[in-house]
């Protein structure tokens, strides 16, 4: 297990979030206003990875992207938007099952072509559903925010310094 995966598993254990492949835990963090199932955790996590694949970048964050997304929706979004997100999630499952609600489709078990096709469906918003658009927009924007607010991105790309100990009002770009 590489370092990144090890950190992810440790984080999972700490917050009792589940379901990364390779992490043996069956506990799930409960989000008070987001009554979602195991398959939903998996889908959102996989979708976030597909939206912004971090590849071999050595990025450590205090929480998993999945937890960041769900915590922010649970704690910071208004109830109507939370409902919209859940409705969009449901519609996405419906789309994956080919319109057959009884058919269980695990997103992470789809092959990469099928996953990208599903992502393209979300991107294009071709269903016309506002809830589905909202689900995709929020998942993407929070995935992106989790990355752009990371130590890695802020330090290397936004010139963030916690203790600059100086101010220069005019330096060449």
């Amino acid at each position: 297990m590489n370092r990144r995966k090890a950190i992810q598993c440790l984080s999972v254990a700490a917050v009792a979030i589940p379901l990364l492949p390779g992490c043996n835990t069956t506990e799930f963090k409960v989000y008070e206003f987001l009554p979602i199932e195991k398959k939903d955790y998996s889908l959102i996590e996989q979708l976030a990875q597909l939206i912004l694949p971090k590849g071999n970048l050595d990025i450590t964050t205090p929480e998993l992207t999945l937890d960041f997304i769900l915590t922010n929706i649970n704690d910071c979004h208004k109830p109507a938007d939370q409902e919209k997100y859940l409705e969009g999630l449901k519609l996405f499952h419906f789309h994956l099952s080919g319109g057959k609600p009884d058919k269980k489709i695990a997103f992470h078990k789809l092959d990469s072509e099928e996953q990208f096709a599903a992502l393209e469906f979300l991107q294009k918003g071709s269903s016309g559903s506002e809830s589905l658009k909202h689900f995709y927009h929020i998942t993407k924007s929070l995935t992106q925010l989790h990355f752009t607010s990371s130590d890695y991105f802020m330090t290397n790309y936004l010139d963030f310094e916690f203790i600059p100990a100086r101010f220069n009002g005019c330096v060449p770009v």
């Binding site: 597909l50 939206i51 912004l52 694949p53 971090k54 590849g55 964050t61 205090p62 929480e63 960041f68 915590t71 922010n72 704690d75 910071c76 979004h77 208004k78 990208f116 992502l119 991107q123 993407k140 924007s141 992106q144 925010l145 990355f147 752009t148 607010s149 990371s150 130590d151 991105f153 802020m154 790309y157 936004l158 010139d159 963030f160 310094e161 916690f162 203790i163 600059p164 100990a165 100086r166 101010f167 220069n168 009002g169 005019c170 330096v171 060449p172 770009v173």
Partner: protein, 566 residues
């Protein structure tokens, strides 16, 4: 001096914030056994700054706001400084209700240190253009106080707290005891030059701020070191890089051995002795146990912050003072004023593309009042100061999805054009109709009447907003700025956190409540030296003036005690 056993002290100071801290420091240095009361918890410098060393990515909302908290505490959530990293220093609406006859966002910090922990650290002196305003323009009453009375106390305070600034030589904004300035950005220098070239009475200067930019022996003794430009000041600073009561005043007072600091002490009222014809102590309710205790002293300083100072005084009723201590003429709680922060302007500067800033600067640029300074020239009274800021940020583009999105984000290297902006700080006119009163039936959990706030803008404020928009649009255009946008935030009074008055200063006991030494006319051993004593509000951030008046009055009180006058 008397000892502090059996609840007897030489001095009692109500409120351990910025002004209460100053009173306590002066008294303790002067050898007075001093009881410093605060209704909130203790906040020890560094130890009780739980978020001070946290990185931005360690906050779970990354600057977002908790929806439930916003619903339950809408007032405090409108405050710019109330954030994920600072929320523990602010009073939640639900914990300490008040009655808004008209909308007023009352921003509070109930803890040792008060709002000095989270303040904006701007420290501009007043001039006689400010103190003489009421007399010249025919509102409120004559302060009786003038710049010459405060000048040496401004210096006294500035040397102790540390103020970064330039010697600007302006009569509207007297110079002080300054440590070196961090300077302006190239766009601010551009705007400064344009203003100088086009307006003989307008000035763009470095905004003076209470930060340490140079070493001094006094700061070493305080245990403070240079500001590190982190710009997360509202969390409390482990370096003591900016001034707050916790890092500077309270430890200084404490090391004299004369200070008794007592948190969780809600002052119910001031005790008046009708035989002695003076205040003799305070009645205190333990914030946690609700137990009532009385403490006694020869002199009482009321520094509970403007509104609560009014509340305590109005709630201090006796046969002699049935309407509140010192309130013979029924003026207490009236003529409250504030700063009008509703008007904003922003724009883009396409020039100076080859430059950016580096590091951080915990202040901005300042434009002192230029309207109606030397004579009345508009259809509204008084005027406004303004901020001016400029910055550049990187362009973060989230284009595409998957590998494309990652590539796009990792391509972050270019900068947006400079963004510039200003905010108005308008002087409002104290009016009799802007009032604080005690509710006759509703009480808080300590049995103290709830405060009713009835404060609003007026036509003068509306005209001033329009003038700010007109004048700054013109100035921005002359500077070549583009995409100029003006915005009236329509915010309620209060978010300026500069509420003042209700216990105004003046020469005549018939028309004012405290004299020019901040003593209640009708009860001279009670001093009011926080924002409550302000007769008018001018345009400058007021904390420096509060501190200078407090130090001055504390010395006056000690002199009067020595002379057995109080």
């Amino acid at each position: 001096m008397s000892n502090n056993t059996d609840h007897h002290f030489d001095a009692i100071v109500i409120g351990a914030g910025m002004t209460g801290g100053w009173a306590a420091k002066e008294f303790c240095e002067g050898g007075l056994k001093t009881l410093l009361l605060d209704r909130g918890r203790d906040v020890k410098h560094v130890i009780d700054y739980p978020t001070t060393n946290m990185q931005p990515w360690e906050f779970k909302y990354r600057g977002g706001r908790n929806y439930q908290d916003v619903q339950h505490n809408p007032v405090i959530n409108r405050c710019y400084a109330y954030r994920e990293d600072t929320s523990h220093f602010f009073v939640k609406d639900t914990n300490h209700p008040y009655i808004e006859d008209k909308p007023f966002d009352w921003i509070r910090g109930y803890q040792v240190g008060g709002k000095s922990i989270m303040w904006a650290r701007q420290v501009q002196r007043w001039s006689d253009y400010d103190f003489e305003g009421p007399v010249r323009d025919g509102f409120a009453v004559d302060w009786g106080l003038r710049y010459k009375d405060l000048e040496k106390w401004y210096s006294y305070v500035e040397k102790f707290v540390g103020v970064s600034g330039n010697l600007d030589g302006l009569d509207t904004l007297p110079d002080g005891e300054f440590l070196k300035a961090w300077g302006l950005t190239c766009v601010e220098e551009h705007f400064q030059k344009m203003v100088k070239d086009n307006y003989k009475d307008r000035h763009v200067i470095y905004a003076r701020c209470a930060h340490l930019t140079e070493h001094r022996e006094i700061f070493k003794q305080q245990g403070r070191v240079l500001c590190q430009n982190r710009r997360v000041c509202e969390r409390g600073c482990p370096f003591g890089g900016y001034f707050n009561a916790n890092s500077t005043l309270i430890p200084w007072a404490s090391k004299t051995g004369n200070l008794t600091l007592q948190p969780y002490s809600v002052v119910h009222s001031i005790i008046y002795d009708e035989e002695k014809n003076q205040a003799v102590g305070v009645q205190v309710i333990d914030a946690q146990t609700k137990e009532t205790t009385e403490y006694f002293a020869k002199v009482i300083f009321v520094n509970a912050a403007t509104f609560n100072t009014n509340l305590i005084l109005m709630n201090s009723k006796s046969n002699r003072f049935p309407n509140g201590i010192g309130n013979d003429q029924g003026l207490m709680g009236k003529y409250v004023a504030f700063h009008n922060y509703r008007a904003k302007i922003s724009a883009v500067h396409e020039g100076h593309q080859e430059y950016k800033t580096e590091g951080n600067r915990p202040t901005s640029t300042y434009i002192p009042r230029f309207r109606n300074v030397y004579k009345q020239e508009t259809d509204f009274l008084r005027g406004y100061a303004a901020t001016f800021y400029s910055s550049r940020s990187k362009i973060v583009q989230g284009k595409g999805v998957g590998e494309d999105l990652m590539t796009s984000l990792l391509n972050t290297r270019d900068y947006h054009p400079w963004r510039v902006g200003s905010g108005m700080m308008g002087e409002t006119i104290p009016k009799e109709s802007n009032t604080l009163t005690l509710d006759e039936t509703q009480k808080d959990e300590w049995g103290i009447p709830l405060l009713k706030v009835n404060i609003d803008y007026d036509d003068n404020d509306e005209k001033m907003i329009q003038d700010f928009f007109d004048q700054f649009t013109e100035m921005y255009k002359k500077a070549g700025f583009t995409e100029i946008k003006t915005r009236d935030t329509q915010q309620a009074p209060g978010l300026d956190i500069h509420e003042m008055g209700g216990v105004r200063m003046g020469l005549d006991p018939k028309t004012s409540l405290v004299n020019t030494w901040n003593q209640l006319h009708a009860c001279p051993n009670v001093f009011v030296t926080d924002g409550a004593c302000m007769t008018s509000v001018s345009t400058q951030n007021p904390s420096l003036t509060f501190m200078a008046m407090t130090a001055r009055s504390a010395h006056r009180a000690m002199k009067l005690m020595d002379e057995k006058e109080i």
